[in-house]
Subunit: 457 residues, 2 copies
């Protein structure tokens, strides 16, 4: 009952016990308790320790055991530099060489270049070569997230020999549930699942049970496209090939979950106008540094808006009441533009949008802007008329809202589509930018109409 | 070469050939070509057909074959009602009973209640029972996304008999790569992977190789927490238990990817002020219906802002230039509040935030607001002084920006934290709402200061 409750609350280990064992230098009991934990929990414990306690961990654990811990952490979430700096360099190099290559590369990408170079020099040659190869792939490509620890079997093997290969390779391979089949030229020709293998007769040839229509990705493909393929087809692993269809590596589903989270979080940050959010930004100074570039850029855009209104100072001096509706009109334009932007960015990100339907999306957004603009415009006319007892002012504000909403909706969808066409990540057209641009447009519309018809006010 | 290119472009099937085979009623060749496709591609093809063509598909495919297609589609992405309405009810019921229960439940949740009830009546009893059980679980809980097609083995089996059970159950089970171990009371006592099974001696007992520290989730747990557990531990399947630790079902990683996408997209939509975005909103009317509730609510909030400024009409009439900076100040407050909101919502969503560190987050945001406010304030003083040649106006706008940024940053982080404390989804505090509230606060600050010191202008 106690244990079940622990499970339910996901509090699966006793942190205080482990720390006291560490403090008491009770090596054996500590190892016993510690290795009873899932590697993810081992990692959680390690990352919460003080530097002096971590030094003991390095004494108690072999580089291989430490490598297993590091594999279970999303490299983006932690600050590795101080951790590696406090380790003996040979220990660090051994640790890295024992990790799956894709995970080792993730960690190395967080360290500085000199550190990386020094580890690669003292590491065993084979691991260093594999890691160097992976480090060459551009960030955010299939190559940069694949692992080279996979099992491949020749197409002329039998199920029996394939199972023998799998049993033999199981401890080192990242997954054995999908096995990729290659021909004599090491080209990818098929895939067979462990499910197929264990339900087939042992004498059957692999090429007779494998699926030949294997979905693969190219080493240079964008990781987001890879993630989408994996998600759509519900695969647990995808093969990565070069342009001649040679099998280079595999990508497993756990890495894809991290990619999907990263991309979603990225789109979200940009909509909010924060350059990559990061759980490590624990000080106000670091947080401010991430937000200030956006704020200062927006400040200058905002000054342009101010300048624009300044040109209508004469109008304002004569009819001060006009100023009252500036935030309403600008705000509505900003909100509606953000809505349209978000819909367009998501349509592009999820691949829902094909080239031929861009025109459709724009027409739909124009229609949506017309509907929302008409309804909000009519409401505004009513409210302003009742409140200010001026039908003209009501109509002026209402028409400005109507026109602004149509233009803002179109701007919100056109900008990301145009960026996508020119291969710029549409999420860069962040929410605050669209909002500020729509502020400017809506104020132009409002004061343009007001100044033209001012004699009626 | 041609085939490889096809793979790279993910254009893995010849849609036109399949359609022409369908039109020519070439039953045999159609089936041959069609079943050569991955079920996901079969589904893609089916969903793109015209109604008249779909009728032929129902003739050509058994309910079981059709069920396999439906399983491969994320139920949120398609409009199932017309599809099921055009099928023979018995065919539809058979189709549903052949699907994995979790997928069948996903589809049934998209249909109307009467349709669901009629299918459950004509469906075979066993499937109907299982589906009814799952339909009882509340949406967004572990129970609502689990499947009951799992393999469990008694703890006293040998590896040999466990493998026999797996081989036997493989065709119907959603995954066989993780097998959960139960005792005589059907309580969950361990987990064993297929990797462990194939690398162990056949006479070994399961209870000697199973891992006893099995991480499980409760049937009523929030699906978001389940997803986070699966992601952190890199599991391929998680067991779902009731409060007495009886094994009820399993959740597989492919369902978790859908949950993560759904939740990310949900947070994103709310930041943009669009109630759940949906690829089915293909008409302006449907799109407008999703956005209007937000826009109208914001319109009324915006009217409050207008009313507020109206109270300073006297000030405005005397110093019209004040109006020029309204959008700048309101805009900066809105932007900075959205940044703080996004950071807080993400910290909560990713579980980075624990109860004890809420105070820390607020203090950090206060510090961040102070830094960004000071820097932006000083820049503004400089620009306004040079532009308007009035140091007093510069200082007035600068101090308003400084104060607004601090307050807006705090509001942006406090609101979601307070909502979280009261168990309201913090993402509901959407970007536009925070923006509009910060508009109001910043304008109060600006006109408050301006009115107090107006004699100096």
């Amino acid at each position: 009952m106690a244990e079940q409750q622990m499970d339910n609350e996901q509090k699966v280990f006793d942190e205080e016990l482990l720390i006291s064992l560490l403090e008491e230098n009770d090596f054996d009991t500590f190892r016993e308790e510690y290795f009873d934990l899932h590697p993810y929990d081992r990692a959680q414990f390690y990352f919460r320790l003080e530097p002096a306690q971590r030094v003991k961990i390095y004494e108690y654990l072999s580089p291989e055991e430490m490598g297993e811990i590091m594999e279970n952490i999303d490299a983006d979430d932690e600050d590795y530099e101080p951790l590696f700096a406090e380790m003996n360099p040979q220990y660090a190099a051994d640790l890295l060489s024992h990790m799956y290559t894709d995970d080792a590369v993730d960690v190395l990408n967080e360290l500085d270049k000199e550190q990386v170079a020094s580890y690669l020099t003292i590491m065993d040659k084979e691991s260093a070569e594999e890691i160097k190869n992976l480090l060459h792939y551009e960030e955010y490509t299939a190559g940069s997230i694949m692992t080279t620890e996979f099992v491949s079997i020749p197409e002329h093997s039998t199920v029996r020999s394939a199972m023998a290969i799998l049993r033999n390779k199981a401890p080192g391979a990242e997954t054995i549930y999908y096995t990729f089949v290659i021909n004599e030229d090491r080209k990818l020709v098929g895939v067979v699942s462990l499910r197929d293998l264990i339900t087939s007769d042992e004498d059957v040839l692999i090429k007779d049970i494998m699926s030949e229509r294997v979905v693969s990705v190219s080493v240079g493909d964008d990781q987001e496209d890879v993630a989408r393929t994996m998600k759509d087809y519900d695969f647990l692993a995808l093969p990565v090939v070069d342009f001649q269809n040679h099998l280079l590596g595999i990508i497993t589903v756990d890495d894809i979950i991290d990619v999907l989270e990263e991309e979603a979080s990225d789109d979200y940050s940009k909509l909010a106008g924060v350059s990559d959010m990061d759980s490590r930004d624990r000080t106000p100074l670091r947080a401010a540094r991430k937000r200030l570039p956006w704020l200062i850029a927006l400040l200058f855009l905002g000054m342009m808006t101010a300048n624009l209104i300044g040109r209508f100072e004469d109008t304002l001096e004569q009819v001060a009441i006009l100023a009252v509706f500036i935030p309403l009109i600008a705000g509505m334009a900003g909100n509606t533009g953000t809505q349209a932007l978000a819909v367009a960015v998501r349509s592009i990100a999820t691949g829902d949008i094909k080239d031929e339907s861009k025109m459709k999306l724009i027409l739909r957004e124009a229609g949506t802007g017309f509907i929302t603009g008409s309804i909000c415009g009519v409401i505004v006319i009513g409210i302003v008329y009742v409140w200010q007892d001026s039908l003209f002012l009501g109509v002026l504000v209402g028409i400005s809202i109507f026109a602004s909403l149509i233009v803002a909706t179109l701007a919100g969808s056109l900008v990301p589509l145009v960026m996508h066409r020119f291969n710029i990540d549409p999420a860069v057209a962040s929410g605050p930018f669209i909002t500020t641009i729509n502020d400017i447009i809506s104020i132009l519309i409002y004061f343009g109409i007001a100044t033209s018809f001012m004699s009626y006010l």
